[in-house]
Amino acid sequence: MNTSLTASSPRRWPAVLAWLAGWAAMTALDGRLDLANLAMLLVLAAAVASLWLPALVSVAAGTLAVVAFNWQFVPPRHTFEIDLRQHALLLVAMVVVNIIVATLMAGQRRALAASRRHAERAEQQRAWGDTLRDADEPLLQAGALQAALTQATGASAALLLPRGILPDRDDDAAVLVLGEPDAEQRAGLWHCLRHGQAMGPGTGRHAELPDAYLPLRGRGATFGAALLRGPWRDAEGAREHAQALCDAMGTALQRARIARDAASARQAAETQGVRNALLAAISHDHRTPLATILSAATSLDEQAERLDPARRRRLARSIADEATRLARLTDNTLQLARLDAPGVQLRCDWESAEEVVGAVLRHARRHDPARRLHARLEPDLPLLWCDALLIAQLLDNLVDNALKYSPDDAPVELLVRRQGEHVVLAVRDRGPGIAPAWRERVFEVFHRGAEAMAGAAEQRARPGAGVGLAVCRAIARAHGGELRLRPRAHGGCSFECLLPVRSAPPPPQDET
């Protein structure tokens, strides 16, 4: 019975059936029952039929039936004459009972339909709320909102949602538009978005418009606008329901924006922290060679006549050495800052590993008089797609460290070989090695907080390693590669830079 009461398109045929059955029963029982009992059948048929009929139809049908009853069954038959004493009361009572039953039934049905509708809407809002709560980026749910609005109101819906901060002008490039609104509807959506108020039929604002416009409201701000194309059935509360769906979206968008803002603020604070620590590390690293330079230079300046020529030359030499170290430190620091910046552009070209290594060797020989550095390259290595200056800088740093931190008579090897889809450039020394706890941390520029204090002693033990290895790793990663550290079996360590192999362009045509 409930289903028939609340069916979205009410069925009428059971009512017709009830009337036919009632009339057939009255005709069949005519003569066997008295008039009052026949009248009861008619009242029953009317009551049953009113279950399916709107109130007015039900009353009209009932009244018509009473008139027909008068014609068919009330003597004198086949006339509309009424015996006032006998039957007038009966007929009037039948009509009044019909009216009361029909009205009550219709009211009951309406109340039931409304409560069913409320339950459906509450369920839809709950489901929509769940969807939004689980969404990291509510904008991606715009399609779902469009579908929900259409389901809720039966109207075709369109949406306009700013992708970021609301632009000063109505710029369609800055918004996400769904549902293909025409130019006028777009203007309406923008207006609704800017003013944060609903417009259209039943809203009290621009009621002459054919379509309804609803803002997607958050707290104190509007995050989009929805259009419900008219004319649409305004089943009670449909617009309010649609507005609730829209506001849920607005709140979700606001929440997402707040989360984004918080994340970027956190990021900015972290970047600032990194920058400060980097500056501290750099100024520490720069002071050491500067101190040597300054003391040697002032000694030359102030004690010149008391120094023998050999001593003077040694001081000059140390100034030159420390200045070179300072220059390299500066190069590394600048490179690190550059690679750290977003969207860094490498100057890549096809490079031969042999040439890059050759340049590194030539450079290293200046502070490798004993020729401890040996290079070994596998034959037929593929060309590398890389920024040769950066790879040379990486190898320079690794070779420099290896020569510095291994005994004066221990060899340092530079190996290049292919390993699957990578070319490995390895610098291997026989130095004291690096404690397991420090194997990852040597690639960090600095250490924060308490670690910085604990690490200070060790940093002194490996001066300059911080920025140098950090930039090496940054270079390797900028090339889509990696730099890692492996301890060697009989002491020392191996820094291995892996660069991905890319298919090389065709070689020039053979000549004879």
Binding site: A320, E351, D387, P507, P508
Partner: protein, 239 residues
């Protein structure tokens, strides 16, 4: 007559240091601290003993000057005459280096640099002075390797080395600029043709082959040097 250099450098300390160091080597050094001063000196410094169009033997040019870019002066010098120019710059922009070399600078030095390196570059640039009018270097010899461009002959330890036509063309181009860096673009354009200026990988292949044939230790070249990211340089011949 001592050789006369123009040093355009805005930093006072570096200017004074370089001037003294170059004076010790016997050069006469005129200095300019700005672009306008440099342009004025180039225009009016001709002495009684010098031709008007060659007031200097060489220019050392800093790029970042207070009143403009040294590139302006370089363009002036190129337009008027061939005067060897060495660019000294703190800028690490490789693109700019290559552009300046292609635009006609003889060499570049990135600050900081040692005085020995500067003197070596000056010597090379002076040797190449006027090669557009006088015959270029045609014989090159260093250690066991000997190249004769007239006879089209390459020898190592007295034995003729067979080179393919492309290898020879590449080597000959480097010999003509011996001691100077030749950019990838210049080499590709001169040896293969202008449409090949992006085919750097050709150079990698042929330089590898040349080194295998000429170098005692190809992995650690002593003759055919790589100027990483810029080009190649054939070392100076023996005196």
């Amino acid at each position: 007559m001592s050789l006369r250099l123009l040093l355009v450098e805005d930093d006072r300390e570096l200017r004074a240091t370089l001037r003294e160091a170059l004076a010790v080597e016997g050069f006469e050094v005129l200095t300019a601290a700005s672009l306008s001063e440099g342009l004025a000196l180039v225009a009016h410094a001709g002495g009684a003993d010098r031709p008007r169009d060659a007031p200097f033997d060489l220019v050392l040019l800093d790029l970042g000057l207070p009143d403009g870019d040294g590139e302006t002066l370089l363009a002036q010098l190129r337009r008027r005459r061939t005067l060897p120019t060495i660019v000294i710059s703190a800028r690490e922009a490789e693109g700019q280096k290559i552009r300046l070399l292609d635009a006609g600078a003889d060499d570049y030095l990135v600050k900081p640099f040692g005085i020995g390196e500067l003197l070596a570059r000056i010597r090379v640039a002076l040797r190449h002075r006027g090669t557009t009018t006088t015959p270029a270097l045609t014989r090159w010899r260093r250690g066991e390797v000997e190249i004769d461009l007239v006879a089209r002959l390459v020898r190592r330890n007295g034995t003729t080395v067979h080179l393919t036509p492309t290898e020879y063309a590449l080597l000959a181009r480097l010999v003509r600029s011996a001691g100077q860096v030749v950019t990838h673009r210049q080499l590709l354009a001169d040896v293969w043709g202008a449409e090949f200026i992006d085919h750097t990988h050709y150079l990698r292949l042929y330089m590898g082959q040349l080194r295998a044939k000429l170098e005692a230790e190809p992995a650690e070249p002593a003759l055919l040097l790589t100027e990483t990211g810029v080009g190649y340089r054939l070392v100076e011949p023996d005196e």
